[in-house]
């Protein structure tokens, strides 16, 4: 228990949609009953396709969206009910790295301002010390002190993402939620940034929640992975286990759809029919049943629960229901 850094319990985030003046509101269940815990020092991955709720989960934990219900325990404290000011203070230990390095840095601020701001708003150090810290961290992430007085647009995407990471790390937080941190980068730059994240984790003892749609990257960097589909976790397992032997039919299909590494590599590809259903009106029962190759009668009516298997992983699928 003492090893648990973050515990998310029955997290729900529903977005209301207005259907016009005289109609009832409908709800998008972006995150529906998601529970998991993250251990100190590990990298916890969340994978899934667009619209599965993985980013919303991350943002809701950090309360960039207000949650609909559920609890988020960070170091034993429920941060889901904190006031704005208390939450603001708690953010010192909980940071975020954003997907789009072009949009997540204020174009009108210099790098120095961007990097010292987190320290300043949390009342840490004197002005001079803050500047020293900024100079220190910018070298750590692989840029140069002379870059401090430039503006974000003078940097390439990879360099900007380094700055975004530096801003998150400068507070020496316990947990960093990285939302697709390399998806917007060029291929040859992605591996640089992944290496940086791995190195910082070692040096600063960081815990990551790594949100991504890129199965290869997730496989490389994470210890445990949760696979999400339409707002729910369908499978949660150790990374090796999940990639070696996926159990949930969706995980199987997802992994088999990943592009091959070599033209001679053959793969028994499970090509899913159709598209992800609209989260406004998700299918009844198991939300995956409309596309599942092994769909049974029960799947159409009953929601499968996330159950723990012998090897310690959890799967939400009627195929493995112990009855």
């Amino acid at each position: 228990m003492s090893n648990t850094l973050l515990e998310v319990k029955r997290l729900k985030k529903h977005f209301a949609i207005n259907n016009g003046l005289f109609k009832d509101k409908s709800y998008v269940k972006a995150v529906d009953n998601v529970s998991f815990s993250v251990m100190k020092g590990e990298t916890f991955g969340i994978v899934g396709e667009s619209g599965c709720g993985k980013s919303t989960t991350g943002r809701t934990i950090l309360r960039l969206n207000e949650l609909t219900s559920g609890e988020v325990l960070f170091d034993g404290q429920d941060i889901s009910t904190l006031s704005y000011e208390d939450m603001r203070k708690a953010r010192r230990k909980l940071q975020m790295v954003f997907q789009d390095p072009y949009a997540s840095l204020n174009p009108k601020k210099t790098i120095r301002q961007i990097l010292t701001e987190p320290l300043r708003v949390h009342g840490l150090f004197t002005k001079k010390e803050r500047e020293e810290k900024a100079a220190e961290i910018i070298e750590i992430v692989g840029l140069h002190v002379s870059h401090l007085d430039r503006y974000p647009h003078e940097f390439s995407g990879g360099q900007r993402q380094r700055i975004g990471i530096a801003r998150a790390v400068i507070l020496q937080p316990d947990l960093i939620i990285a939302d697709e941190p390399v998806s917007a980068l060029d291929v040859s730059i992605q591996s640089q940034v992944i290496n940086l994240l791995l190195r910082l984790q070692m040096d600063f003892n960081l815990t990551y929640i790594f949100i991504s749609h890129d199965l290869g990257v997730v496989k490389h960097i994470t210890d445990r992975v949760a696979v999400m589909y339409l707002g729910r976790i369908v499978e949660l397992a150790k990374t090796e286990d999940l990639y070696d032997q996926p159990m949930h039919p969706y995980t199987q299909a997802l992994l088999s759809a990943e592009p091959i590494r070599h033209p001679d590599q053959k793969r028994d590809r499970i090509i899913l029919k159709g598209d992800v259903p609209s989260p406004v009106s998700p299918p009844s029962g198991c939300t995956f049943h409309t596309r599942c190759v092994s769909c049974m009668e029960i799947c159409k009516t009953e929601i499968p629960l996330l159950e723990i298997m012998e090897d310690g992983r959890s799967v939400a699928c009627h195929l493995y229901n112990k009855m």
Partner: protein, 300 residues
């Protein structure tokens, strides 16, 4: 080697941008004929207004009934005289002051109120937004002239009251524009990242959102100045605005309308001054909008 030259070039670019922003903006202005024309008009109107006592050939309020309704170019009166024998050119020159005063102050105050309301509504959203925007809606449902007339009827006529009424009428357009602007900026990822960092709310508003409002405000204000100058003229024309004998383009038009068939110059020249000024401001404002609009200006 090449690394050094790249560094140098970037440094050079940075300097150039910071020191030369205004200069390069001006260079581009000179290249645009309409924008530059507008700029020249504004410049000359300002100079005329400032130097009115020096430039004006006659006292604008001095009446001389022996010289009433003189045609242009007679007895030293370049643009003729009005029904009380006052020099029209001098009255137009002094009228510039009133127009500029009204244009600039009302825009300033209306902008201040409108921006505050817009920022609050756009940032806090929810019920704050609903309440403030419904006030705006109510305000907008009154015909503009009617509102001005009501205010002037209640508070009495005069320069102060006309300015007050124009501010009351004018702030709503700022509130609307700024609100939608703030709504958009608030959803930018760098604002989200401020939340995630733990930046206090007031600091997010003042340091991260407000600087982005500069461009839309400048553009809106430049176009509003001309609207307000015309509004003042319209109200003065109806007899509610600036009261005689103080010279203003609006009340000159009002007085001149009675002589429109016999002495055309009474109404033509103030009208022309009005048209040229507003046209100049609009041309400049259009240019400024295009110039500052990042969509139009891809190569930042």
């Amino acid at each position: 080697m090449s690394q050094v030259s790249v560094e140098k070039r970037i440094l050079y670019k940075t300097n150039e941008r910071q020191n030369g922003k205004v200069v390069s903006l001006f260079k581009r202005l000179v290249k645009n004929p309409f924008g530059f024309l507008g700029f020249l008009v504004i410049l000359s109107v300002c100079i005329v207004g400032l130097l009115a006592p020096i430039i004006a050939p006659f006292n604008p309020v001095e009446t001389d009934l022996t010289k009433k309704l003189l045609a242009p170019m007679t007895e030293g009166h370049l643009l003729g005289t009005d029904q009380l024998g006052r020099d029209i050119l001098s009255r137009i020159i002094y009228g510039t002051r009133i127009s500029l005063l009204i244009g600039v102050t009302t825009v300033l105050f209306a902008g201040l109120i409108g921006t505050t309301v817009g920022v609050l509504a756009g940032y806090f959203r929810g019920w704050v937004d609903v309440v403030l925007m419904r006030i705006v809606d109510v305000q907008l449902s009154f015909p503009f002239i009617l509102l001005v007339l009501i205010i002037n009827a209640v508070l009495g006529t005069g320069l102060k009251n006309i300015m007050l009424s124009l501010i009351v009428v004018g702030w709503v357009s700022y509130a609307r524009v700024i609100r939608s602007e703030v709504l958009a900026i608030r959803e930018k990822e760098y604002i989200h990242s401020c939340f995630a960092t733990g930046v206090p709310q007031w600091e997010i508003i003042v340091k991260h959102i407000m600087p982005n409002l500069f461009t839309p405000l400048i553009v809106l204000a430049s176009l509003q100045v001309s609207t307000f100058i015309i509004a003042e003229a319209s109200v003065s024309f109806l007899g509610f605005g600036v009261q005689p004998p103080t010279p203003a383009w609006g009340n000159m038009l009002n007085e001149g309308k009675n002589f429109i068939l016999s002495s055309w110059w009474l109404i033509t020249f103030p009208g022309l001054a009005l048209v040229i000024t507003t046209l100049g401001i609009n041309l400049f404002g259009d240019w400024l909008r295009d110039e500052l609009d990042p969509e139009m200006n891809q190569n930042r």
